[in-house]
C-alpha cells in the first residue's frame, strides 16, 4: 500500500487503499478491485447526477446510504459495498426498475451484455412481487439508424448527458414525467450529429439500438478483436465484433490519449463496410498474355524474374496500408532503384467532438497518411501512370476510379492488393493481400502515434499480409542477384515490426510488444527515445 503524503487512505470492503484527493468512492473501489454497480455514472460523461441509486453504499459514521459515484473519499473512510443495508437498497432499486420492464431479453440486442440482467441476477430475487399490469410505451426512432425501446429504458440519462455534455448538442431530452418518462427528441426532429452513435454504446441496457445491428447477432456468438478504426487519420481505438467471418458491429475502445470512450458514426459505417465485396484471393501472373492463377512460390519467382528486367519506374501506395507493408515496399523499391512513389488521400468534412476536442472525424479519411509519409511517399491528388516502358508497382490503392486503360503502358505492372478493378486487371501480376482487419500490423495516426491492430477476420483464399508478400519478394530478388544466403524474412508481425524499427530512426526505440494499449508516439529522428509507452 502506498503511503504518499498527498494520498487519502480508506478501507473498502476490508481492503486498504490510498487514492488521490477528490477521487470518488466508486472509482476508488474499482481500483481496489470492487466493482460497484452503476447505471447513471459513466466515466466519460462529466456530470454525476447520482439519480439511479444503484451505487448506494454504507459509509461508517454516515446516517444514510450514500451514492458512491458522487461521494469523494476522505481520510480514514470505511466503506461497505455489500453490507445487508446496501444490498437491500440495491435489490429495491432493481425491483423498481423491473416494474415496467418488458423482460424481452430473448429478442433484445443487449442480452448478454446488459447491466440490468447482470445486477438483477446478483440480487437473487426468485420471483416478481408485481401483480399490476405493466405500462407499455412502445418504441420510437431517435435518429436515422437508432431505435429507442422505451419500455427497456431505465432513464439513467447517460444518452441525454452524452449529447448535451460531450457532443455539445442539447437535442436529446427526457420527456414526460414519472413512470411515463421517456427519452425523446423535439417532435419531428431526429438526432443529426456525427457522433450520435455513442448513445447506443453508453446505454447500459437495450433501450437504444443501432437499426443495422438489430436482431443480427447474439453477444455470445461474436468474437471481439481490438483494432484501430481506418475511417480517418485519428485512429480511434475500436473493438470489432465478428460473426461468421463478417464484421457486424464496431464499438469504441477506451484510449484517453486518442478517442476517450468515443468514435464517430462515419468510422462505424466505414469499418463495417470495409471488408465487403469481391476480393482477389489467389496470385495471378501473365506469362503469355493472359492472367492465370499460380501458387505463391511460382508467382513470386515469376515476378522476381520480371522485376530484374525493369529499369526505373514509379510506385503508387495507399494510406490504408500498414506501416510494415509500406516499409517493405520501400525496401523493395530501393533494391530496384525506384525512388519516390505517391499516394492519394480521400478527404471529407471535418467534425470535432466538442467535449473531447482531441477526437475529430478528420478531413483525411485514411488511417496511415503519416506512415506513408514516414516511408518517403508523397501525397498527390491523382497519381499519373508511370512513363511507358518503365516499371509500375501499386500497393493496395484499389484504382477503382481510374480509366480502365490505366497502367497498361508500363513495361511491367505489379499489383499488390486485394481488389481487382479494371485498372488493376492491366497488371502483369496480381499478388493478393489481406485487408487491415485480416492481419496484424500498425498505423501511425495524424499526430505520429503508432497503434497496433489485430486480426479479426480470416483472409480470403491465399491472400497474405502485404509485408509478408513483399519481404518474400525481396528475398527472391536478392537470391537472383547472387546473395550468398537467403535474406531473412519475417514470419510474424513482431519480426516485421522489428526489421522496420531498426531501419527507421523515428521508430528506433519501439518493439511490437512494447507498444501498449495507448500506442506510442514517434520520436523525431536523432532524438533520445522517449515514447509514452503505456
Amino acid at each position: 500500500m502506498t503511503e504518499g503524503n498527498d494520498l487519502i487512505n480508506l478501507i473498502i470492503d476490508g481492503i486498504e487503499i490510498a487514492v488521490e484527493p477528490g477521487t470518488h468512492v466508486i472509482d476508488a473501489a474499482e481500483r481496489a478491485g470492487v466493482l460497484i454497480p452503476r447505471y447513471c455514472y459513466h466515466p466519460g460523461i462529466p456530470s454525476r447526477p447520482a439519480q439511479c441509486r444503484v451505487c448506494l453504499v454504507e459509509i461508517e459514521g454516515q446516517p444514510k446510504l450514500q451514492p458512491s459515484c458522487k461521494m469523494t473519499v476522505t481520510e480514514g473512510m470505511v466503506v461497505h459495498t455489500a453490507s445487508e443495508e446496501a444490498e437491500d437498497a440495491r435489490r429495491a432499486v432493481i425491483e423498481l426498475l423491473l416494474v415496467n420492464h418488458p423482460l424481452d431479453c430473448p429478442i433484445c440486442d443487449a442480452a448478454g451484455q446488459c447491466m440490468l440482467q447482470d445486477y438483477a441476477l446478483e440480487t437473487e430475487q426468485l420471483r416478481s412481487r408485481l401483480h399490476e399490469e405493466k405500462l407499455v410505451q412502445g418504441r420510437d426512432r431517435i435518429a436515422d439508424d437508432i431505435l429507442y425501446f422505451a419500455d427497456r429504458c431505465i432513464i439513467c440519462t447517460r444518452c441525454v448527458r452524452f449529447m448535451s455534455e460531450v457532443a455539445g448538442d442539447e437535442t436529446l431530452i427526457v420527456a414526460q414525467r414519472g413512470d411515463r418518462n421517456v427519452i425523446d427528441t423535439f417532435p419531428g426532429r431526429d438526432l443529426d450529429h456525427p457522433f450520435q452513435g455513442n448513445i447506443v454504446d453508453v446505454c447500459p441496457v437495450g433501450a437504444l439500438v443501432h437499426e443495422d445491428f438489430l436482431f443480427k447477432a447474439r453477444f455470445w456468438d461474436m468474437d471481439q478483436t481490438a483494432s484501430i478504426c481506418p475511417g480517418c487519420s485519428t485512429g480511434c481505438n475500436v473493438t470489432i465484433d465478428v460473426k461468421e467471418n463478417q464484421i457486424v458491429r464496431v464499438k469504441p475502445r477506451h484510449n484517453p490519449e486518442v478517442n476517450s470512450y468515443w468514435m464517430c458514426d462515419h468510422g462505424r459505417k466505414h469499418l463495417v463496410m470495409s471488408n465487403r465485396g469481391e476480393r482477389a484471393d489467389v496470385p495471378l501472373i501473365r506469362p503469355d498474355g493472359r492472367l492465370v492463377a499460380a501458387d505463391w512460390s511460382e508467382a513470386l519467382a515469376w515476378v522476381a524474374d520480371r522485376l530484374l528486367e525493369v529499369t526505373g519506374g514509379d510506385a503508387v501506395v495507399s494510406p490504408d496500408s500498414a506501416n510494415e507493408s509500406l516499409f517493405f515496399l520501400r525496401e523493395l523499391l530501393d533494391r530496384l532503384g525506384i525512388g519516390g512513389g505517391s499516394f492519394r488521400v480521400p478527404t471529407g468534412e471535418e467534425a470535432t467532438l466538442a467535449g473531447f476536442p482531441k477526437l475529430a472525424l478528420r478531413a483525411e479519411r485514411a488511417p496511415n497518411t503519416t506512415g506513408a509519409e514516414l516511408f518517403g511517399f508523397a501525397r498527390v491528388d491523382d497519381p499519373a501512370p508511370s512513363p511507358a516502358g518503365a516499371g509500375l508497382i501499386v500497393l493496395e490503392d484499389p484504382l477503382a476510379d481510374h480509366e480502365p486503360e490505366w497502367g497498361g503502358e508500363a513495361a511491367f505492372f505489379l499489383y499488390v492488393g486485394g481488389r481487382l478493378s479494371s485498372a488493376a486487371r492491366n497488371a502483369h501480376a496480381v499478388l493478393p493481400v489481406t485487408g487491415f482487419a485480416e492481419m496484424e500490423g500498425s498505423f501511425t495516426n495524424f499526430e505520429g502515434r503508432v497503434q497496433r491492430f489485430h486480426q479479426a477476420l480470416r483472409p480470403p483464399g491465399l491472400a497474405r499480409p502485404a509485408w509478408m508478400v513483399l519481404s518474400r519478394l525481396i528475398a527472391e530478388l536478392d537470391l537472383r542477384r547472387g546473395a550468398e544466403t537467403r535474406t531473412e524474412t519475417p514470419l510474424e508481425v513482431g519480426q516485421a515490426f522489428a526489421a522496420m524499427a531498426v531501419a527507421t530512426p523515428e521508430l528506433g526505440g519501439f518493439e511490437w510488444d512494447s507498444i501498449g494499449p495507448k500506442g506510442a508516439r514517434l520520436v523525431a529522428a536523432g532524438d533520445a527515445v522517449s515514447a509514452d509507452v503505456a
Binding site: 431530452i173 420527456a175 414525467r177 425523446d184 423535439f186 426532429r189
Partner: protein, 185 residues
C-alpha cells in the same frame, strides 16, 4: 360573466392579460414584445423565464404548439428539445388543442366525498362529450383533475384560469350558460 382570476393564481401570474386568439403571433406584436420584456425582467437568466412564457403561449393560444415551443426556444436561447422536455413534464400545459373552455373537475378525496363524480357526469352529459375529448364545436373539453387545492370549497371546478367552488350537479347548467357561445371568442 367576466373572467374571474382566483387570488391564489393571480399573485403568481401578474401578467395574465392576453385575450385568447389562437392565431395571434407570440412575440410579433407590440403586446407580445412588451409581455416578453416584462417576464424577462423578473428573472436573472433567460432560461428561468421558460415556464411563464409557456404559460403565456397557452393563455394566448389555448394550447402550446411545436411552433410556439420553437419560438420560445429561440427567444430564450434554448434548444427546442429542452423546451419540449419542460413542457411535456407539466400536465397543465396543453400540448394538443383543447376546447375554448377547459373544464377540470376535481375528483380527489374532499371533492369526491362531496359528490364530484356526479358533477363530472353532469358536465359530460350537458356538453355531450367524453372525458378528455373536445366537443365538435370546439367549445368544451372536460377533464377529471387531481386536487385543485380548494378542498374547503368542494366540489371545485377549474374552467380555464377561473375557479368555481361548491359546485353541485344542479349548478352545472348555470355555469355552462355563463360561458360564451360558439361564435364569440
Amino acid at each position: 360573466m367576466s373572467r374571474r382570476l382566483h387570488p391564489a393564481v393571480a399573485g403568481a401570474q401578474p401578467f395574465q392579460l392576453a385575450e385568447r386568439d389562437p392565431d395571434a403571433p407570440l412575440f410579433g406584436s407590440e403586446e407580445g414584445r412588451e409581455r416578453l420584456e416584462a417576464i424577462l425582467s423578473r428573472y436573472p437568466t433567460r432560461r428561468a423565464a421558460l415556464l411563464p412564457l409557456l404559460g403565456y403561449a397557452q393563455e394566448l393560444h389555448g394550447w402550446i404548439s411545436t411552433g410556439d415551443m420553437e419560438e420560445i426556444a429561440e427567444v430564450l436561447e434554448l434548444t427546442p428539445a429542452y423546451v419540449w422536455s419542460v413542457a411535456s413534464f407539466y400536465t397543465m400545459y396543453n400540448k394538443h388543442p383543447a376546447g375554448r373552455h377547459m373544464i377540470q373537475v376535481c375528483t380527489n378525496i374532499s371533492c369526491h366525498l362531496n359528490g364530484a363524480p356526479r358533477v363530472l357526469e353532469e358536465f359530460l352529459e350537458q356538453t355531450g362529450t367524453v372525458e378528455g375529448e373536445t366537443t365538435e364545436d370546439g367549445r368544451f373539453t372536460v377533464l377529471e383533475a387531481e386536487c385543485l387545492g380548494a378542498c374547503g370549497f368542494a366540489t371545485a371546478v377549474q374552467i380555464n384560469d377561473a375557479y368555481h367552488e361548491n359546485v353541485t350537479p344542479e349548478k352545472v347548467a348555470e355555469i355552462l350558460a355563463s360561458l360564451d357561445g360558439p361564435e364569440s371568442s
